[in-house]
């Protein structure tokens, strides 16, 4: 095994590919989780048209492949921009719809993931007992205080495992950038494979994803343990009770 070669491959993939992967991941998480919250609130809102919009949004985003959505934004948007520009004689539209590649990726991924997060949060809300709302009401809490102090924290706890899953899926979905010809981890790895006729870069790419997923898994385990108050601490009691473990 040629360690110098391995090192050069690892360097290339980390420097040229993983950066884009991580950037996309970070931006999408930061945008799509709050946006998902917002869509959840809209889908529960008292004004019916707002509810319809939220539900249609979730339906379309979850009902079509992310890749199709990306292709639409990458290649369809400029066409729409051109048509609008000539229809209204305003060049402004051409620029508006001509997104820079990475920005287009941020937009497509964020819109798509926001729909999934919205659905997860909505499930979290459904899991909350109506007694919680009643207790809050008889104690005099206002609606916003009830939502922020009592409902949201419990909703997050319920949603956390699904959020973890979705986040891990996102790390792997970033590889869809490959299909729209952005230099990300797999893209870089493959160009080295072509150059050197050696499959080692693919193994390195796999290792990169595994490490990222591993870190996320550990992080979410820790986060879940912070929120797990509504399960009794059985483990602790058992340990105290069994003599051979107190050694």
């Amino acid at each position: 095994m040629d360690f110098n070669y391995l090192w050069s491959v690892v360097r290339m993939i980390l420097l040229e590919g993983v950066g884009k992967t991580l950037l996309l991941f970070a931006v999408v998480i930061v945008i799509s989780i709050p946006l998902g919250f917002l869509v959840t609130l809209l889908s529960k809102c008292r004004v019916p048209p707002l509810r319809w919009i939220a539900n249609a949004y979730i339906f379309i985003m979850r009902g079509t492949p992310l890749l199709l959505q990306l292709v639409f934004i990458f290649y369809g948007f400029p066409i729409i921009g051109n048509s609008l520009a000539s229809a209204f004689h305003m060049e402004f539209f051409r620029d508006l719809f001509q997104l820079e590649r990475m920005n287009a990726a941020f937009l497509g991924f964020s819109l798509n993931y926001a729909a999934y997060f919205a659905e997860i949060f909505r499930g979290g809300l459904l899991a909350i007992d109506k007694g919680q709302y009643e207790a809050a009401k008889v104690l005099g809490f206002s609606k916003p205080a009830t939502t922020m102090r009592i409902i949201f924290p419990q909703m997050i706890r319920v949603a956390l495992p699904s959020v973890a899953n979705e986040t891990i899926t996102l790390i792997k979905d970033t590889s869809l950038l490959y299909a729209v010809a952005i230099q990300e981890t797999i893209n870089v790895a493959q160009s080295i494979v072509n150059r050197d006729s050696n499959i080692l870069p693919l193994v390195v790419a796999a290792a990169v994803y595994l490490v990222l997923v591993f870190i996320l898994t550990i992080f979410f385990k820790w986060l879940e343990s912070k929120f797990n108050h509504d399960k009794p601490k059985k483990g602790r009691k058992k340990r105290l009770a069994s003599p051979e473990q107190s050694l």
Binding site: G131, E134, V138, L139, G140, F141, A145, H229, D230
Partner: protein
């Protein structure tokens, strides 16, 4: 002025009439036990009083403030004011599971009443001591027994300094050996002359602690009076029947 005044209270769910003209009043310091068979409308009646359920007709006044008048509800701000001195304890406790016992007690005084922090801390310690749970202040509800959780729920309600407390079957979700502590806490409140309405199946407790007993049947109050009268000398045939089935 009566603490609670109810006239002609009606409630239906769709075509099902659950309350069919309920009249009663509760004086200051009274402990009123509400008994009756399952489905007779006890919980619905209690929930109407504290605005958790919408009455279809009738009048409810709390401490002279109308909540609903001849079937017409007052605006939300006035409804909030009318029920602001009333607390409720639920069958399933409804503690906030993501907060410690202390946080459960202190959140409403902090957020709703915006009281001073130290004042709140003193109150919460006093209330926990009263229900004998001072050592559980930093536990989460999931680590308490049902009886302890219900005592926390009572302490939480008392933090708001209510003038009236409503209890909907406070011991029905508990194992029999855990009901004692909860009933004792309620008995203590009765000694302090707290005005209370308690829906219960604990007939002995009703006999010993209540000043008034309401017997409900099919959405109506069929009979009411002091416990001796209702339990020793029931007039209506339905009351007799109910009492005989429950004592078996």
């Amino acid at each position: 002025m009566n603490m609670i005044e109810v006239k002609g209270l009606k409630k239906s769910f769709g075509s099902l009439t659950v309350l069919d003209g309920v009249d009663f009043s509760v004086n200051k310091g009274d402990v009123v036990a509400v008994i009756g068979s399952s489905g007779s409308g006890k919980s619905t009646m209690l929930r109407c009083l504290i605005d958790l359920e919408r009455a279809s007709g009738g009048t409810i006044e709390i401490q002279g403030n109308p909540l609903v008048k001849d079937g017409v509800y007052v605006p939300e701000a006035q409804r909030k004011k009318a029920i602001s001195k009333m607390g409720m304890v639920f069958q399933h406790f409804n503690l906030f599971p993501h907060m410690t016992v202390r946080q459960n007690l202190e959140l409403a005084p902090k957020v709703v009443q915006k009281l001073d922090k130290e004042q709140i801390r003193r109150d919460s310690e006093e209330q926990l001591a009263k229900v004998g749970l001072s050592d559980k202040a930093d536990e989460y509800p999931a680590n308490l027994s049902g009886g302890q959780q219900q005592r926390v729920a009572i302490a939480r309600a008392l933090m708001m300094k209510p003038d009236i407390l409503l209890f909907d079957e406070p011991t029905s979700a508990l194992d029999p050996e855990l009901t004692g502590g909860v009933l004792e806490a309620i008995r203590q409140l009765a000694e302090e002359h707290m005005t209370m309405m308690i829906v219960t199946h604990e007939m002995n407790f009703a006999k010993n602690v209540a000043h008034q007993v309401l017997f409900m049947d099919s959405g109506k109050i069929l009979e009411q009076g002091p416990p001796q009268e209702i339990f020793e000398n029931p007039k209506a045939a339905r009351t007799k029947e109910f009492l005989s089935t429950i004592s078996k």
